[in-house]
Amino acid sequence: MIKHYNYFLAAALTAATSLTATSQTLQGIISDAQTGESIIGATVKYGDGKGVITNQEGHFTLNVKTLPVKLNITYTGYRPQTITVYDEEEDIIVKLTERRNYLNDVVVVGYGTQSRTQLTGSVVTVKADVFENSTSSTLDGALSGQVAGLHVTAASGQPGAESSIRIRGGNSVNASNEPLYVVDGFIYYKDASSSGTSLGAIESRLNPLATINPNDIESIEVLKDVSATAIYGSRGANGVILITTKKGKLGEKKAHVSYGYSLGLSSVGKHLNLLNASEWALFQKTYFSNKGGYTDEQIHALGKGTDWQDAVLRTAVQQAHELSVNGSTDKSRYAFSANYTDQDGIVLNSGFQRYNFHTNAEWELQKNLKFGINATYGRSKQKGLTTTEEKVFNSSPYSAGITNSFVYALLMPPVISVHQADGSYNFTNPYEYAYFAIGDHAANPVYDLKESVAENVNNYLLSNVWASYKLGDFTLKATVGLSSEKLTQNYFSGAYTSLGLATQGIGGTGNRQTDVWQQEYTLSYKKELDKHQIEALAGYTKQTSTSTYSSIRTNHFTNETLKQYNLGDGANIYTPQTGISESTLNSLIARVNYTLLDRYNATATFRADKSSRFAKNHRWGYFPSLGLSWNVDKERFLSGIRHLDYLKVRLTGGLVGNQEIPDYAFSTSYSTGSYGGSSSYAKANTANDNLKWETTASYNLGADLGLWGGRLSIVLDLYYKKTSDLLLDVPMGFANGVTSQLQNVGNVENKGFELAANGILLKRRHIQWTASANLAHNHNEITNMGKTNNVIQGADNQQILRKGEALGSFYGLRFAGIVQQGEDVSQLPTVNGLTPKAGDVKFDDANQDGKIDGNDRVVLGSIQPDLTYGFSSQLQVYEWDFSFTFAGSHGGKLYNALGRRLEQTGDSYNVLSTVKGAWTAENGGNTLPLASTSRPFSYIDSRYVQSASYLKLRNVTIGYRPRLPKSFPISLRIYATATNLFTLTPYKGYDPEVSGGTDSGAYPSARTFTFGVSITL
């Protein structure tokens, strides 16, 4: 008993003394002084070099024998801090201040992150404030002008419409030139063949990026050169855009709840000047048969008449609600957001709606084991215009430039009213005899737009789950995800609409279900030794895509009440269209990053892709790259330069590929139809057993320079890209049964430079002013076309693919003026065998054979701009903030097909007021010929290949954050934004930004004024 008692006593004493004298436990937390976010991995050193590292929540615990004790706290990119602990009455709370240095940034790269000091590739980061200051409903709208070498061209002003994004020019002719999008590390794959349902008749397509709410974005990394993109191998040729969505901040226990509301009003940015009723009637009387029989008095009394342009345009309302919640617990973090956008278009009955829900959460299930989920669910609906493309009645209105009801409105004679005296629609138009009238009935564009249906509805789920396990210096990660989209297209044009006149109404509906499964398994390794840092990554990824579609159309309706929801009412049924396509892509990836002495960096990347899209023996593609960079500023010989913050030189080279072509393009295929009441098959494609990867060899030399204590940073890149084995639709002879075949023919080169500068003009406690500018030049040239040269493209044969010229080159006659009275016409080349007379158009006889024909066509420029540039600035003065963004493009051309149509004179349609300056015997004139019903020459000419240069004020924002009493714990911001406030451009159409290079009556862009409020709890 006594013995046991002794043991107890000894144990108790030991415990008591250890509590009082031998050790004290100190606990603390380290966070960022500005953001409050926990700093993971900060080093806390004490005593004789002992140290601990902060954990996932920024916490540290250490045992010390005596107090006081001095702690040295360090973390890369932050100012070190020394703390002496005298007692343990309170936990140690350390807030570290970040050093201002561009190279301290950590950037997201493919399959990981990397310190900018170690980066070898050309990567530009766009931060969340750019998207917060933009009122664009899609991220591409906000990116314009922000990144050197990234050129955004909106397809049209239609809300929710797609844009064309080019990073360092276009590489390909028939394969996609769009960059690859990766959302939170997971590829958001938009199949080249999955954007329609084979229905037709709907002019606009939904922007694939409409599935991502810009307000969910924390940052975007634009990967431009091969060292950065090669890890995406077959899909890296056009550049890669990495999107990182907002997450809860670890260590910040308090949940943040934000709500934002914005209300905007849009109106057309520019009106075209058309003839009013008096002018048009006078014009008719002067040059044509005066169908209206107007006397001079009546003409004067007509006044302005009907402004059809105004009649189909409107002031549109848009509103958006944003709700987001994010936060963290000890072992997890989460973010959730909901967005509702309702944007009316400025053209009647058009608009865009979106519901979007996004969540991003991760948990630390066990020590070293993490699990996460990212999911976006939403529904986008776009209401647009029906296109006249498929209508062939008398002749094709589409070919004649009347591409949709909006364009038709511009052509409507202003002497025709929208409504009759009783308020009903006016379907009487005696001037219409060509395309849109049957008997007494003529189309009315206002009715067309209001009553026709042209909808794209997309229900989407983008989701992935991942788990990672850290084992020493190794991390295993597995990700599985599904991108599932169901696109529904509806259209209906009733018997009184332009499209439905000939068929007593036409309607259809189509569906496409696209499921893309992706799996990724990676093993990464990271080790820091004294002078060496090494990171390695190896993995396997697999992507399986399945897309099915079906569509049906009928016409000849007896009851239009339910429109496309009662297609059975249509007496004539078109051949139903159904189909399926499947593709797989198996890939092996590997990357090694090595850094020596914090100065010398190397990145070697390799990817092997096996794509089902190519011929059997050509499915594997191998894409290596090597990048080197040198932090020159860390060399001793530069240490004395006081103004220099950092200087880095980068050199990269490698191969990337492009596989964005339709499935089965390598095999023979047939399309179904009906012939004489029976089914029929027609050859759609002829096999090409040699179809293989389009590959782009890319080289980049770049430099990053920081000066004057963080005041100025400059990034300069020079690049050269050569795309070989171009995927090109080569025209085929009739013997093949097809008009063209996809082959690997020719080369395209892109070379240029990019310069970006960011400056801090003023940074005081309550006043901060920053500015950014970027400039890029790209030279694009087809350097090889194989045996195929001079491929003419476009509805008006307006473009050409030719060796030595750029992609998207315009091809036509060079306008030489108007034949004047008394001019010696004997010296002029003949046109269609006739000698021109006074008032006729003159063209350059390029081949000097004495006649004007197709052989006199020359290249008239291209869609490729010589320079693209952007400039933005942000000013914050106490509670006020002000920002603006300019974007510009110089040297590109655009074919103004709408202008050509609207300057074509006749006795049916209205014309631009410029026609008042057409040549007359009395007044002369040297731009437009004598008004007549003659159709324009069959080849386009240089008058309508117009400069697409522009400088746009994309947005101007002014905001105010009132100081609220501390007892009112919310943050409030009120703001007003003007979008597209002005455009300086010589272009004569609505807007010089039209993707594809042909403005055949694109939906005009809007000027928008938005007012909003955001509240954060």
């Binding site: 008692y5 006593l9 703390i83 002496t84 005298y86 309170e90 350390v94 005041r711």
Partner: protein, 300 residues
Amino acid sequence: MKAKTFLLAIVAVLAWPASAATQLNDDTITIKVDKTSQLLVEQWIENYKNVNPHVLIKLVSGKNADADLTLVNTPQANGNVTYVGRYALLPVTSDNNPFLKDILHKEWKSKDLKSLFFTADDLDDEYEEQVEGRHNKLNDKLTVYSGSGKASHTNTFASYFGHTIDELRGNRIVGDDLHLLSALKEDKTSVTFNALSNLYDLRSRSLKTNLVLLPLALKKAQEEVLLSGNLDALLNIIENENVNLIPVQTFGFIYHTFDADIEQFLRWVVSTGQQYNHQQGFLRLSQDEVESQLQLLANN
């Protein structure tokens, strides 16, 4: 056997404080204070007990100790607080600072104090300091020490000069601000700031030996009082005149429970107890503040 008894006694002694703390009578008012204010609070308790001998009041300490009243050195958004006095802060160094001559040669204006204690206010200044070499040479030679944590007066000092505590230069200490004076002993180049109650010898009413105040750019009469080293003259002038460059802040008790005994004690501190503030190096509340605090207590 004797040894065992001795060890048992040690264990009992070691174990006693924890058990005693948990066995406080429910009627005991517990108060948690920092070391800087401890003497003043003890004096209040002692004198309050003289007139209210039945009331039990005890100071408690420790990271996890709960108390009825907790002394706070900054104004609180929460309404459950009674302000009981004010404190003033002065910048100080030690008399064996090798740069003392330069320090005393200078008349320290607001701009100089900001430049010494805080990181650059803007990029221009920072650049000038770091790159252009146009930095203040004296500032670079001195090491700033400041406190951290809830009990520290650091927040008051930083706020007075329009900064946050994250923007203080130099080294931090964790613990009571009294320990900042220990830092002065250990690092000869150090400068810091502290409350008058820590800076002055409360018996002799003069500045503690080895400490030297930074000469502030005050009005002549005020400067003379500061240089005289007399605590009472300094307290009087701060209370009665508008003195720049000396941060002054109220401190008070947050009450977690509120009953008649606590109210009575707080009423006494706000009124009668004020007479001891000067004695312990603190400023009294103004008459308006006294009335306002009594009114707030009456409203509870």
